[in-house]
């Protein structure tokens, strides 16, 4: 079976992992247009080449990022999301006021 290297658990069978979609920037839900939001939710680059994706190691519930070639299927690199997401993201200022 194809193997994937989980940054947390080491090499595991690919069947233990769940594909979670392209890594992309979330627009601010309170200020973006419906079209921008639809683009974020439904549209994809669906590129041929090396892509950056979210993957889940299901047994341990651990989300990480993989760089994978979509023609050869070769997994180039897997790493913890903290490599990209290294500061706190405020999704919405409006909701915070409502909650307060």
């Amino acid at each position: 079976m194809k193997m994937m290297n989980c940054p947390l658990n080491g090499p595991r069978n690919i069947s233990e992992f769940v594909f979670g979609g392209e890594v992309r920037k979330q627009p601010d839900p309170d200020h973006c247009s419906d079209i921008e939001w639809a683009d974020y939710v439904f549209y994809s680059d669906n590129r041929l080449g090396i892509v950056t994706e979210w993957w889940l190691h299901a047994p341990s519930g651990y989300w990480f990022i993989a760089e994978r070639h979509t023609a050869t299927g070769e997994i180039q690199r897997t790493y913890d999301p903290s490599e990209i997401f290294n500061e706190r993201i405020e999704f919405s200022t409006v909701n915070k006021e409502v909650l307060a």
Partner: protein
């Protein structure tokens, strides 16, 4: 030997049809009214209806490989209309109607065989969903009914009625369910289109576009530049890649879909059987092979490689419902690249680029739509962009207004 046969042997005019089904290739022209990209069933069907109903014959179909070598030649040829949404059922019912007449229309045998399709329910929830599908189907003139375990056992005596801890509770019996020879459908359309003047250019890949002020006026290919009045994109699994060349994104992710057949055995299975709970469906071809198919691969890829994992899980499911198949031998296995949409419905109609029409998002279910899709795409093109009512619900911008046509439950593992 009967004399009647001998007569043909001495007749100088025999065989009567001397010309080949497809004309010899011509040089690629410098300009066409319509350029259709993708020589699968959908592309050649659109060309055929453009020529036949609209008198538009200055048309080139560009195919990077060979005619029908994409998903058209790789699918398991389930033809049915028992979907869930009124929009979907209406559309697919029209397609099934066209399919029944195709062989006569082409004068070319597509081996259309209406053997019915049975989908199995093991839970109350599945039975409820089936009831809804029965009513929607009847409303649009389809022949679909709910049948119980006794009738199912009569219809398919070799079916395991109690796989694992499950028990078959009911079946969605779709009498219109059919199959046909997929390559013959592509060939029939290509023959009819080229005989009317359409040019089919194989080994011709669209690599870029000439787009000015948001309007397409030409296609760049590996064999030179072609100017055109409009473009129809019908490239299935490669939809996003071509759209990217035209400068827009699509609500599509490309996943491989695998299938396989066994060695031929004596006929024992009339209807096509689908078990959504097992993610698999099984049917016997006219040659006796058992075709086995399931859902797409678990992650996106532009490669038609096959995996052992999928064979194992698909065969395990198949043996649950037909245990005696355990000693059958697999003969062939293959894959195609399927263009999956979030709501399991196609994307048809206008695109963000003017004069650039979309026929995409056919995922695992588009073979059955070939005739109606070709016909409505031809209407769209011939009218200069007036979207036919039948396909209006499938416009790409439905996602922007959150008006999806959800066919997931009626599609997954049933095709």
């Amino acid at each position: 030997m009967p004399f009647a046969l001998l007569k043909f042997g001495i007749n100088k005019n025999f065989p009567f049809e001397r010309h080949a089904d497809l004309q010899a290739p011509k040089a690629l022209g410098s300009s066409y009214d319509v350029v259709i990209i993708g020589g699968g069933g959908h592309g050649v069907a659109a060309a055929y209806y453009l020529a036949k109903y609209h008198g538009i014959t200055n048309v080139a179909v560009l195919e990077k490989g060979y005619l029908g070598g994409g998903n058209t030649g790789r699918n398991t040829a389930v033809i049915r209309s028992n979907y869930l949404t009124p929009e979907g059922v209406h559309f697919y019912t029209e397609s099934v109607k066209l399919f029944t007449q195709l062989a006569n229309e082409f004068d070319f045998n597509i081996m259309y065989s209406q053997r019915g399709q049975l989908t199995l329910a093991y839970t109350d929830a599945a039975v409820r969903a089936f009831r809804q599908r029965v009513e929607v189907n009847k409303h649009f003139g389809g022949h679909t009914e709910l049948i119980g375990p006794t009738e199912i056992a009569e219809l398919i005596p070799c079916l395991n009625m109690h796989p694992g801890q499950l028990s078959v509770q009911a079946g969605l019996w779709h009498k219109d369910g059919a199959t046909a020879r997929h390559d013959a459908v592509a060939w029939g359309y290509a023959k009819g289109a080229t005989q009317r003047g359409v040019e089919l250019h194989q080994l011709t890949e669209a690599t870029d576009f000439i787009i000015k002020n948001g309007k397409v006026s030409g296609v760049i290919t590996n064999r030179g530049t072609v100017h055109c009045g409009c473009v129809v994109q019908a490239v299935a699994g490669f939809s996003s890649l071509l759209a990217a060349k035209a400068g827009f994104r699509m609500p599509i992710v490309s996943y491989p879909l695998q299938a396989m057949v066994t060695l031929p055995v004596k006929p024992f299975l009339g209807p096509m059987v689908s078990s959504p709970a097992h993610h698999c469906y099984v049917q016997q071809t006219g040659r006796g092979e058992i075709v086995i198919g399931g859902g797409s691969d678990p992650y996106p890829l532009y490669s038609t490689r096959s995996t052992l994992d999928l064979k194992e899980s698909l065969l395990a499911s198949t043996l649950e419902i037909f245990p005696f198949m355990a000693n059958f031998r697999l003969m062939r296995q293959w894959a195609g690249i399927t263009d999956m949409t979030p709501d399991y419905s196609p994307v048809m109609g206008l695109s963000p680029v003017e004069n650039y029409y979309l026929d995409a998002g056919w995922g695992t279910w588009g073979f059955k739509a070939t005739p109606i899709c070709g016909k409505t795409m031809a209407q769209l093109v011939a009218s200069g962009g007036k979207v036919p009512e039948l396909i209006a619900p499938f416009s790409m911008d439905r996602f922007e207004v959150f008006r999806q046509v959800n066919e997931m439950g009626a599609t997954a593992a049933s095709h």
